[in-house]
Structure formats: structure tokens, C-alpha cells
């Protein structure tokens, strides 16, 4: 699916800011599943841009404004071609997660972090859910994603700052990043490496925005990926109870939100900013590929193991 994305954030200060320094992470990644066709960033007032790829592989655009300014507007425009991901087989047993080489490579995705630190109650909940040997690796991640979707109800604007896992569970509500953090924490607590993903979602089923034909107005989105031995990262979207597909555009991943915030920075001055943020996504080839329908359960999305041939065809 070919998607054109326009990400826009505007800070309106009630008293002019003297200086702003910011980092933008809004550029779609290029990986096996998606291909970046074009990307540009505009900042008003204009500023010199430093673009680089960070430790996690995400493109970062850094800029500073050192003249007094009452507004700061950042616009990022991207064109991206997406595909559905390859399907995962359920052959990898849970115990393959304990392979020393696998652990060594995924160490940083197994530990609690600022936004994903869990307590024993959550760990017990995750254990009950997955059982010690009940599932294969893929099934474990899917059960967790499904459980998170059941456990939480979506409430826009629930969090300004990421809530801790205990609060997410106590409230039973959250936005996409809370869903993703909870799923990541639960995976890690049962020994499954997991990472937080920041991105965009083009879908009528997305609960954060509206759809008019081929144009959706949304916010940035978040989901998670779990590492499956021998197969790579399985991406799941617990907020929408979706397997990640061609309507998902990934920006990047990290241990939690803190590694891949869409925009972060500091400003100095007496004022307080009002924030306006919006994402517009337009489908450029509407006739060929309709957006995937919402699935009743993630587990239903699991496909039977396929032969290697079929998988290759799927990938093209």
C-alpha cells in the first residue's frame, strides 16, 4: 500500500521562547516490510537540520532555534510503500527463548525500563496467562497481546506522561503507548524479548482519529514487537487487536517510549506552550488494496505453519 503521511506539531508559546532545541523521530523506517519513497522536514522559524540514524536505527532530525520565537511548527512529509509482514510459524517452542546466544543478543529487550517496570502481581498475571509450557513463542506473544486488549479500554488523552505499569493495570484504561508498554512488560516478565514500536496507522478502525475516504486524521501510534527465535520480530497491535499489517507504518523501536519519542526537546523562556499535533495519512492507491478489516481476535490472525516456498511467495 502506498501512503503519504504528513506529521505536524506546533508549539504556541504564551510568551516568546528564547531558545528551543528538539529532536524529531517521525521518519518511516525502511525494512523488509516497508520502503521509504520520500521524506522531508520543514521547521518554522527555519532552522538548520542535522539528520542521523540513532542506536536503534531510527532516523533523527535535530534542530535548534536560538532567536526569540512565539511559535514553533514542525512538519514532516513522508511517502512510504508497505506490505503485510511474513507470517510466523508456531514451531518455535517456548524453551527456545532460553538459548544462551538468543539471550545474549536480546539482553536489552528483557529487562524492565522506566516505562516498563513491573511488579510481582503483573508477572503473575502474565504467567497465569501463558503458563510455563503452554504455548510456543508466537502463541505466548499473541496471548499477551490479546490479554492486554481485553484488560484495557481505550481512553483518549488518558496520559500526558507515560503512566507506570501498575497504574495502567489499576486504571484499566490507556492510550496506545500504555497498551504497548503493558504488552512489552508482560512479554519480558515471562522471558520473551519485546520492544516498543512508534509509528503511524492508516485504518478506519483506529480509535484515535477520523476517516474520510482515503484520508485519515490521526495521532502517531504505538504497538510492540516480540522476538521469536529463528524467525525475527513478531509485530502486534494490542490497541486495535490487530496483527500489524500493511496499514501500519513503523518509525522505529526501542526499549520503551523513551527511546523513540516522536518529538522531544527543551525550550527556555518564561512562557508555557500550547501543543497542536496532527497526523494526516492519505492512501495513494485506493483501488488496489483496501485497508485490512479489524479482526475479532489476534489469535484468529495466526496462520497455520507454511512451507518455506509459500513464505517466500508471500514476501515477493
Amino acid at each position: 500500500m502506498r501512503l503519504d503521511i504528513c506529521y505536524r506539531t506546533k508549539f504556541v508559546f504564551d510568551a516568546p521562547a528564547r531558545e528551543s532545541q528538539n529532536e524529531l523521530r517521525a521518519c518511516p523506517a525502511s525494512d523488509g516490510r516497508q520502503r521509504l519513497l520520500g521524506y522531508r522536514v520543514l521547521v518554522e522559524p527555519s532552522a538548520r537540520m542535522l539528520s542521523f540514524t540513532d542506536y536503534w536505527g531510527t532516523r533523527v532530525d535535530q534542530f535548534g532555534v536560538t532567536d526569540s520565537h512565539a511559535e514553533l511548527e514542525v512538519t514532516a512529509e513522508a511517502s512510504v510503500e508497505t506490505q503485510d509482514p511474513p507470517s510466523f510459524s508456531r514451531e518455535a517452542p517456548r524453551r527456545s527463548l532460553a538459548d544462551p546466544d538468543f539471550l545474549d543478543r536480546h539482553q536489552e529487550y528483557l529487562n524492565p525500563t522506566r516505562h516498563t517496570s513491573w511488579d510481582e502481581a503483573m508477572a503473575a498475571e502474565a504467567r497465569d496467562l501463558t503458563g510455563p509450557d503452554a504455548h510456543d513463542a508466537v502463541g505466548t506473544a499473541m496471548h499477551i497481546a490479546d490479554h492486554v486488549a481485553d484488560r484495557l479500554s481505550y481512553q483518549p488523552g488518558t496520559t500526558e506522561i507515560g503512566q507506570p505499569i501498575t497504574a495502567i493495570l489499576a486504571n484499566g484504561t490507556g492510550v496506545c503507548q500504555d497498551y504497548a508498554h503493558l504488552a512489552v512488560a508482560m512479554c519480558r516478565s515471562v522471558g520473551m524479548p519485546a520492544r516498543y514500536v512508534s509509528g503511524y496507522l492508516f485504518s478506519s478502525s483506529d480509535r484515535t482519529g477520523s476517516i474520510e475516504g482515503d484520508l485519515v486524521r490521526v495521532q502517531t501510534h504505538a504497538w510492540f514487537e516480540a522476538a521469536v527465535p529463528g524467525q525475527g520480530w513478531l509485530a502486534l497491535d494490542p490497541t486495535n487487536r490487530l496483527a500489524v499489517g500493511r496499514q501500519h507504518v513503523k518509525i522505529g523501536h526501542g526499549r520503551d517510549y523513551g527511546d523513540v519519542p516522536p518529538l522531544r526537546g527543551v525550550y527556555s523562556g518564561p512562557g508555557v506552550p500550547r501543543l497542536e499535533a496532527a497526523v494526516e495519512i492519505r492512501r495513494m492507491d485506493p483501488t488496489r488494496q483496501p485497508p485490512a478489516p479489524m479482526r475479532p481476535s489476534l489469535l484468529a490472525a495466526v496462520r497455520a505453519p507454511r512451507t518455506r516456498d509459500q513464505q517466500q511467495q508471500q514476501q515477493q
Binding site: 528538539n22 484515535t208 495521532q219 519519542p261 518529538l263 518564561p270
Partner: protein, 339 residues
């Protein structure tokens, strides 16, 4: 030099000057209250606090402002030094209270703090001297000494201030650091003299020699005035002398000339705003018709004081503006949660 260091120097100069001025004015005022009724003496202390603009900025709960302390106890009680005890207590606060912004203790403490971060820029003799002075003022016996013998204590403060100025002028290279310090001193001094005339002019109107003498003595100008003017003082002559004397180092014109030359030598090119403002103020005084000014002196003095304050602000804008500390705020955009 770093803008922050220049600003610290500028303010160190202002604080040093302020400390000396406060000590001089308190001494002159106390001296003139010795033979006066308590009511008169209290009135004088009110005048003085007004001139110095000294009030504790936000008195702590239960603490008195100086104005309150001046009227709190019954009159007629005299201290050891023969002064009304309320007057004396007020004087002690003006000198010793670290809570009064502008007291001698407060100003020397601030000046020392500024010098502390500039230790690499100032001669070590200067640092040792301000440290010694600071320790002297911070000594537990110091307020007691001020109560016991205010005149001697105030004299010792003046001597310490003069020692500091001596160390400054004999040991400090005439670089930017020195110039900013001297600029701060001279601007502060011109403001103080300006305020003194404002506060004292109505008191001197047609009245006794004593009032004239107090005014002049407050800025150590009595002897210089007498040598220059050779006549029994008139209020307008005193004002003219303090404003326009070419030779007296505390006259407003004298201070503005020095300030202008310091700014001029630091301005890399052209005429930056503080230099223009100081030049306007200086030439305004140089070419002033004093008799015409005297018809509405309070208005002229207010305008002059405002002008000097503006010049000081312009110095800050031009040389230190980019050293201003601003609070940093972090900002981050969260997914799915527009505000």
C-alpha cells in the same frame, strides 16, 4: 570576557559602592541626630531609609520593617552611645541585617559571592581583602560593636571599603574585568548622589547650615565643597555642586563621565545604546542651565535618575543579555495523546 563574568564584576562594583554609601549616610545621619529630639531623629531615619530605598523586601513573619521598628517603643530611651534606641536599632539594621537588601552586610556578602566565582580574574590580594572584610562583618560580636560604638564601627567599615578600592586600583589590570567593576561602581554612585539630592533638597530649603552640612557629609563632600565654594552654603549651591562639580568624584556629572569612558573603551565599534544614553545624560548635565533646572529640581532629578537606571539596563542588554539565566523546560509529544 565571558558575559557572565562581566555581569558578576559589574554587580560586584555596584554592591561595593552601595555598602560604602550606606555606611557613610548612616554615619552622617546618626551624627546629626545626637542633639535632636526623638521625633526629629526618627524623621531623619525615615528620610534615610527613603534615600537608600532600604526595606527588607519581604519581612519574615513577626519581623518588623525598619519603618515599624522606628515607632515601636516609647521615645526618650537613650542608648550607650547617647542615641535614641529606636534610631540606633534602625541604624544597626541598616548596617548589620543580612535580611535587608542593601545593608552593608548584605552588599559585602553579595560582592564576595560574585568575586568568588571570579577568583581567576581578580588579584588574590583583592580576594583576601574582601574575605577579611566579610569575616569581620560576619563575626558574632559585630552587631554588638555597632550598638556599642556606632561611629567607630562605621568608620572601620569606611576604611575597609577604601582599602578594597585601594587594592582594586593598585593591583588590578585595566582590562575588561576592571572596567565593568568600575562602571558598576560609578553608575551606583551617581544614582546614590542623585537620590541624596532628591531626598535632602526639600529639607535644606532656606534652613540651617546643619542641614546643608549633613547633606554634604553624607557623601564626604563637606570639605571639598567648602574649599570650592568659599561661601556659606545655599541649598541650590549644594545641589549644583553635587550634580555638576567637575572635580568632586561623587558628583553625578563626574560619575557619568567615568562611566561613559569605561563603556566607550569596551564598545568594539560604533556607539552601542548604553554609550549613547550615557553620552546624552552627560552632555545634558554639561550644558544644563542650572538656574533653570533649579526652578523644578525634583522633576529634573527624577528624569536623571530614570536616565541612569536606563543606562544601567542598557549596559546589561548590550553586554550581558546573553548571560541571562532562563529556566529550561522539557517538552515531548506522546503518541495517541494530543493535548
Amino acid at each position: 570576557m565571558l558575559a557572565r563574568h562581566a555581569e558578576d564584576m559589574f554587580w560586584a562594583g555596584r554592591y561595593l559602592e552601595r555598602a560604602e554609601d550606606t555606611a557613610r549616610m548612616v554615619r552622617a545621619t546618626l551624627l546629626s541626630t545626637v542633639a535632636e529630639s526623638p521625633a526629629q531623629a526618627l524623621h531623619r531615619m525615615h528620610d534615610l531609609t527613603r534615600t537608600l530605598r532600604l526595606e527588607a523586601p519581604a519581612p519574615a513573619e513577626g519581623a518588623q520593617t525598619i519603618a515599624e521598628s522606628l515607632t515601636s517603643s516609647p521615645p526618650m530611651l537613650r542608648s550607650q552611645a547617647g542615641l535614641d534606641i529606636d534610631v540606633q536599632a534602625a541604624a544597626t539594621r541598616l548596617v548589620c541585617s543580612s535580611a535587608v537588601a542593601g545593608s552593608v552586610v548584605f552588599c559585602i556578602g553579595r560582592a564576595r559571592e560574585n568575586f568568588r566565582s571570579l577568583r581567576d580574574q581578580i588579584p588574590s590580594e583583592l580576594w583576601e581583602e574582601i574575605n577579611r572584610f566579610h569575616l569581620q562583618l560576619g563575626h558574632a560580636d559585630f552587631p554588638g560593636a555597632m550598638e556599642q560604638d556606632p561611629f567607630r564601627t562605621l568608620d572601620s567599615i569606611r576604611v575597609s571599603c577604601q582599602t578594597l578600592n585601594g587594592v582594586l586600583s593598585t593591583s588590578m589590570a585595566r582590562g575588561e574585568a576592571y572596567r565593568f567593576l568600575a562602571l558598576g561602581q560609578n553608575l551606583e554612585r551617581s544614582l546614590m548622589t542623585c537620590r541624596l539630592i532628591q531626598a535632602r533638597y526639600p529639607e535644606m530649603d532656606g534652613s540651617s547650615y546643619d542641614e546643608m552640612a549633613l547633606t554634604l557629609r553624607s557623601v564626604s563632600a563637606l570639605e571639598a565643597y567648602q574649599r570650592t565654594m568659599h561661601s556659606s552654603p545655599l541649598a541650590s549651591d549644594v545641589a549644583r555642586f553635587l550634580l555638576l562639580s567637575d572635580a568632586f568624584p561623587r558628583s553625578v556629572l563626574f560619575c557619568l563621565r567615568l562611566s561613559e569612558s569605561h563603556v566607550g573603551s569596551m564598545a568594539a565599534n560604533g556607539q552601542p545604546p548604553p554609550l549613547r544614553r550615557l553620552g546624552q545624560l552627560r552632555s545634558g548635565l554639561e550644558f544644563a542651565d542650572f538656574d533653570e533646572m533649579a526652578t523644578d529640581l525634583p522633576t529634573h532629578l527624577r528624569a536623571l535618575e530614570t536616565g541612569v537606571r536606563e543606562a544601567a539596563d542598557l549596559v546589561g542588554d548590550h553586554f550581558f543579555r546573553n548571560a541571562e539565566a532562563f529556566t529550561l523546560h522539557s517538552q515531548a509529544v506522546k503518541p495517541g495523546a494530543p493535548s
